[in-house]
């Protein structure tokens, strides 16, 4: 029998197309990139694991191509574009870590543009201003009623993710909160 080929369908496929949304403006106030991480996982370490001593809360770390967000004491959420090797995970999290594949479990977007802070203020429950949320910050908080992970890079570009099943609600929030500024969606 011929082996079936299963076509992968990321969370944004068929849900949101690239293009312009909201008010028709010359320059969109919010730029959105729909993300699709190839690999994601929850990593749970024993209490006081020395390998993770430098991964304190409040930041999103980039180590060996892996983005690491501390979620709770001894708990991390990692994302990367290629599956990290066992050795890499060993170095990052020690030998006692439990790695649980969570690929596809979250819906992620990148947000940037002149009005990105205005848009975030209309939903995110923490202070996203660079004074309180400087480059490299990463936190878990609420966006309205959705639990979200939020981080910002050196260029002031934010990454926001929620549970996959709530992707529709996160997109609805983006459309509503940013509509007045004009939205440009790319992939």
């Amino acid at each position: 029998m011929v082996e079936p080929v299963y076509k992968r369908r990321s969370v944004w496929q068929g849900r949101v197309d690239a293009g312009s949304y909201g008010k028709a403006v010359a320059h969109a106030g919010l730029h959105v990139r729909l993300l699709d991480h190839a690999f994601a996982a929850s990593v749970l370490c024993p209490a006081g694991e020395p390998a993770t001593a430098s991964l304190g809360p409040g930041q999103r770390y980039s180590r060996e191509g892996v983005q690491i967000l501390p979620m709770a004491p001894d708990q991390f959420f990692i994302e990367s574009e290629t599956m990290p090797s066992k050795e890499c995970l060993l170095r990052l999290f020690g030998a006692q870590a439990t790695v649980i594949d969570q690929t596809g479990s979250r819906a992620s977007v990148q947000l940037s543009g002149p009005n990105v802070l205005d848009v975030l203020a209309k939903g995110v429950m923490i202070d996203c201003d660079p004074l309180a949320f400087p480059a490299g910050s990463g936190r878990v908080t609420l966006l309205g009623q959705l639990s979200v992970q939020i981080s910002v890079d050196a260029e002031g570009v934010f990454e926001l993710s929620c549970m996959r099943s709530m992707a529709g609600d996160m997109w609805h929030w983006i459309e509503t909160a940013a509509g007045q500024y004009g939205i440009a969606v790319g992939r």
């Binding site: 409040g58 979620m71 004491p73 708990q75 908080t141 609420l142 639990s147």
Partner: protein
């Protein structure tokens, strides 16, 4: 209302779920279980409560004043036994 999570910092109360009195400890003796499940003090003033910070899934023991709403110490519940 805002509550300070030791891991995440001060956050809006909507990020938390309230459970109840953090005073009683689950007893070893069967005879004490009914009191543990049902009896609670209802003080005017300071008392300790269990709150869950839903975004980091950490249970917290929050010392809070029921009259002034002031928040005192907040420790992770897993450290409570060590602390008390």
């Amino acid at each position: 209302m805002r509550l300070p999570c030791p891991y995440c910092g001060e956050r809006d109360s909507r990020e938390f779920t309230y459970r109840g009195d953090a005073g009683p400890t689950r007893p070893e003796a069967d005879e004490a279980m009914a009191d543990y499940v049902y009896l609670r003090d209802n003080p005017l003033g300071w008392h300790k409560e269990y709150w869950l910070h839903t975004v980091c899934r950490t249970w917290l023991v929050v010392e809070r004043n029921t009259v002034t709403h002031a928040v005192g110490t907040v420790v992770p519940a897993r450290n409570q036994r060590a602390a008390s």
